[in-house]
């Protein structure tokens, strides 16, 4: 879509078209509001054959899908990754943070794992249950109706399990487990570890006539051409464009939120990436859904006489309490899965089963639990590197010679194909004021906008959590008659804990709270300092527990959208 200079005043400007911006756009335009949606990347529709990578075989790529221009390989549907050309960031001396950005309509919802988990009641009362510094100012009961509405509007499969901190929803029926998942279930059972069907936003059953049903290609991360898995582009923004109330600005990089002499927001300024020029548009309300760190960056860059520390930053807390998920993983070789009979086991683009946190009542040396995800492409389409660098390295487990060539190597690749299971823990991080992003005053991106600098360190208890997960993997490997591949990472390797940011679950930079001195937004995600600016991405999260954040981002954004509609009706904005 062509960028235009708009003289008209929108009701609402929304920045970012991912999970947060998408649902906000839908709810506000459905309510009859005139909306401008600004996206930093190009237009993207998963159904566009020119952009489609779904169903493309590996040999369709001259590099056989290897990850040179895209971090997770040629077919992965994200324009941008932890590196975006011309948009640098840095980390403070002895820290490291990885910041993923998907510059495209729909943002990261085009490639995400579709894990649609709800936060539980304990996650909202995290001070009471986990001894953290603050509770959320809202409870599970406040947000539950929005989770329910999301389930019905967008679709998620799963099962009712009546677990204490993993609430049930309005589920579509899940797919049956794959073979290696049955091994995992059996192995976990021996240690009393619960395994239940996954909860993924994939349509295993029809929910409306606008979206197709899963074709079980296992390629959700390529974004679905029949819209069977949820992407904000396919399922929210593109349908909303048909209503005539939405102006979409693509390839537009927001520099700042503009304010008047009273400190009230008047709209935003952005740079049109195509011609390099800056434009500004006006609105009654500004909603930021650019992702936790991008929204924090925009606010911090929106300095004015009335807001000298950045917009909404009188508390000095914007950027603080940054959290990513704590992760650690291990591959396990399961000899019983050698020499598999092959059949189409692609399934959905994610594991069909998972282990929710199961040790709620046990005293451990870390406060917050984790869930375990398993690999799912065990018999999936061969990608670059199939067989590994030494295709029969597992021969060493049987005292057989490693290496060789010819028919022996061909046979060995087939023998070991599909015989490994990867286990990955996804755990809650501790909100910490010392983990943050801030503006790097010395560096600008290619659009001339000051960039971010990160400071993030794991806490001792988070290392303990990773250690616990590795101990569990060892036990599960034993239970499956399997062998951990490579050494079990010990203290010297930090138990294999993930680099902060690498799990791509950043939350918590514009913390929600009732007290303007200790938080940035109120319980409706409105800036304490400015009545007509809202933050609807994961920035307002106080805490996320071990849960994947997308569903909660959208539930909160829907609730905020209802609030905005009501405030506009009352002419309070």
């Amino acid at each position: 879509m062509e960028i235009k200079e708009s003289k008209e005043k929108y009701d609402v400007i929304i920045v970012g078209s991912g999970a947060a911006g998408g649902i906000t756009t839908k709810i506000l335009t459905d309510a009859g509001l005139k909306v401008a949606l600004i996206e930093a990347g190009p237009y993207f529709d998963p159904a566009d054959p020119e952009q489609q990578t779904q169903f493309k075989p590996t040999w369709a790529s001259p590099r056989r899908g290897s990850s040179v221009t895209r971090r997770f390989g040629d077919f992965h549907m994200s324009y941008g990754d932890w590196k975006v050309d011309g948009e640098p960031y840095s980390s403070k001396e002895d820290t490291d943070f990885m910041w993923w950005r998907s510059r495209m309509l729909g943002g990261r919802t085009n490639h995400w794992g579709r894990i649609a988990s709800r936060l539980g009641p304990k996650d909202f009362k995290c001070k009471d249950f986990y001894d953290l510094d603050e509770n959320w100012p809202i409870t599970y009961e406040d947000i539950k109706p929005y989770y329910d509405k999301l389930d019905k509007l967008i679709g998620v499969f799963g099962t009712k399990e009546n677990l204490p901190n993993d609430p049930d929803g309005f589920f579509l029926p899940p797919p049956k487990p794959r073979l290696h998942e049955l091994y995992y279930i059996k192995g976990a059972k021996k240690s009393g570890i619960n395994v239940i069907p996954s909860r993924l936003s994939v349509l295993t059953k029809r929910i409306n006539n606008q979206r197709g049903i899963c074709m079980f290609c296992g390629q959700c991360e390529r974004s679905c051409s029949v819209y069977a898995c949820f992407s904000s582009s396919s399922s929210l923004v593109i349908p909303s464009l048909k209503g005539g109330l939405l102006d979409l600005y693509t390839d537009s990089m927001v520099r700042k939120v503009n304010t008047d002499n009273n400190g009230i927001a008047t709209g935003v300024s952005f740079i049109n990436k195509k011609n390099g020029k800056e434009y500004s548009i006006k609105s009654k309300v500004v909603v930021l859904g650019a992702s936790s760190c991008s929204s924090a960056r925009i606010l911090l860059n929106s300095k004015s006489n009335e807001h000298p520390n950045g917009l909404g930053n009188s508390s000095g807390l914007i950027g603080k309490y940054l959290q990513d998920t704590v992760g650690t993983s291990k591959q396990i070789f399961v000899p019983e899965l050698m020499n598999r009979k092959t059949y189409n086991e692609d399934g959905v683009g994610g594991a069909h089963v998972y282990t929710p946190w199961w040790l709620h009542d046990k005293k451990l040396d870390f406060p917050i639990g984790y869930h375990i995800e398993t690999s799912y492409r065990n018999l999936g389409m061969p990608q670059f590197g199939i067989g590994g660098y030494i295709p029969n390295d597992f021969n060493k487990f049987f005292g057989l010679r490693v290496g060789g060539y010819g028919e022996q190597i061909r046979k060995d690749v087939k023998k070991y194909w599909g015989s490994t299971i990867a286990l990955e823990s996804r755990g809650g991080a501790i909100p910490d004021i010392n983990n943050y992003c801030e503006i790097d005053e010395n560096k600008k991106d290619k659009y001339g906008i000051p960039v971010l600098k990160f400071n993030y360190k794991w806490a001792d208890t988070e290392y303990n959590q990773a250690k616990h997960a590795q101990d569990i993997y060892e036990e599960l490997a034993y239970n499956m008659n399997g062998i951990m591949i490579g050494d079990k990472p010990g203290k010297d390797q930090n138990y294999g804990i993930s680099t902060p940011g690498s799990i791509i679950h950043e939350v918590g930079t514009t913390r929600m709270g009732n007290n303007p001195n200790t938080s940035v937004v109120n319980k409706y995600e409105r800036l304490h300092d400015v009545d007509n600016v809202y933050v609807v991405d994961a920035g307002p999260f106080v805490f996320k527990g071990d849960k994947n954040p997308t569903w909660t981002i959208m539930a909160l954004a829907w609730r905020t959208s209802d609030h905005i509609i009501s405030e506009l009706k009352k002419q309070n904005l």
Binding site: K152, P173, I207, E345, V348, P382, G387, I390, G406
Partner: protein, 238 residues
């Protein structure tokens, strides 16, 4: 891709100075019209341009390409599914030599792939007084028997063994990610289908079974087209 990063470290850590990308890639004969984009899948304009540039340039000379083809045919010999050429293995390696010739890849094309050919060729020159491509299959195999196994490789052969492993990795990947290679492997997916669980005979063979209570909650594929309706407690009615 962490695995690749670590592999890179292993292979490249012993290699020193690198040539620049421009120095080792020559454009194809200008009379030849631009190579048609034969790869059809969603690319951004930047990616498309980048790939096109490489597809229209030549990294290896004819003699090097013949060496790669010969090595590849011995690492994965032809069978009823096809051969190395059917699988486009040499083309893939030619492309990767250019694709990975970046500072981030430590100029892999020159430092690893081309250097590997030189080291392997020297090995045959020393032993048989002949280029690799002029040696017989038996001669080539006699050397591969020495350098292809991880155990007991003598110091003199370590460098050649490391480059052999690199080419084996490339050839195995090239074969099994090709159309013929996937058939050889037995991969059956990448088509629209309705997943309804692991086949009965496979379950039996692995001595595992579906839990009946679990299965009762799973999707009834005969009703997948009926629009979902729930009662107020979230129980699915359709």
């Amino acid at each position: 891709m962490k695995r690749r990063d670590s592999i890179k470290t292993i292979i490249l850590s012993s290699i020193g100075a690198s040539l620049t990308l421009e120095g080792c890639i020559s454009p194809l004969n200008e009379n030849v019209s631009e190579k048609i984009w034969e790869y059809r899948y969603g690319r951004t304009p930047y990616e498309k341009e980048r790939d096109k540039k490489f597809l229209n340039a030549q990294f290896f000379n004819k003699s090097e390409l013949r060496t790669i083809e010969r090595i590849a045919n011995i690492i994965i010999p032809p069978n009823e599914f096809g051969n190395i050429n059917d699988a486009g293995v040499v083309e893939m390696i030619e492309f990767i030599a250019k694709d990975w010739s970046t500072p981030a890849h430590n100029n892999y094309g020159e430092n690893v792939l081309r250097k590997g050919l030189i080291v392997l060729d020297n090995l045959f020159e020393n032993k048989f007084n002949n280029k690799l491509t002029d040696c017989s299959d038996d001669q080539i195999k006699s050397m591969f028997d020495i350098i292809s196994y991880n155990d007991g490789i003598e110091e003199d052969f370590k460098e050649a063994a490391s480059f052999f492993a690199t080419y084996r990795y490339m050839v195995v990947t090239g074969w099994f990610t090709s159309e013929v290679g996937m058939r050889d492997l037995g991969y059956k997916g990448n088509i629209p289908n309705v997943w309804d669980g692991v086949p009965e005979d496979v379950l039996k063979d692995h001595d595992v079974s579906y839990d009946l209570e679990w299965i009762a909650k799973c999707v009834d594929q005969s009703k997948r087209n009926e629009t979902a309706v729930w009662d107020e407690d979230g129980n699915l009615l359709t």
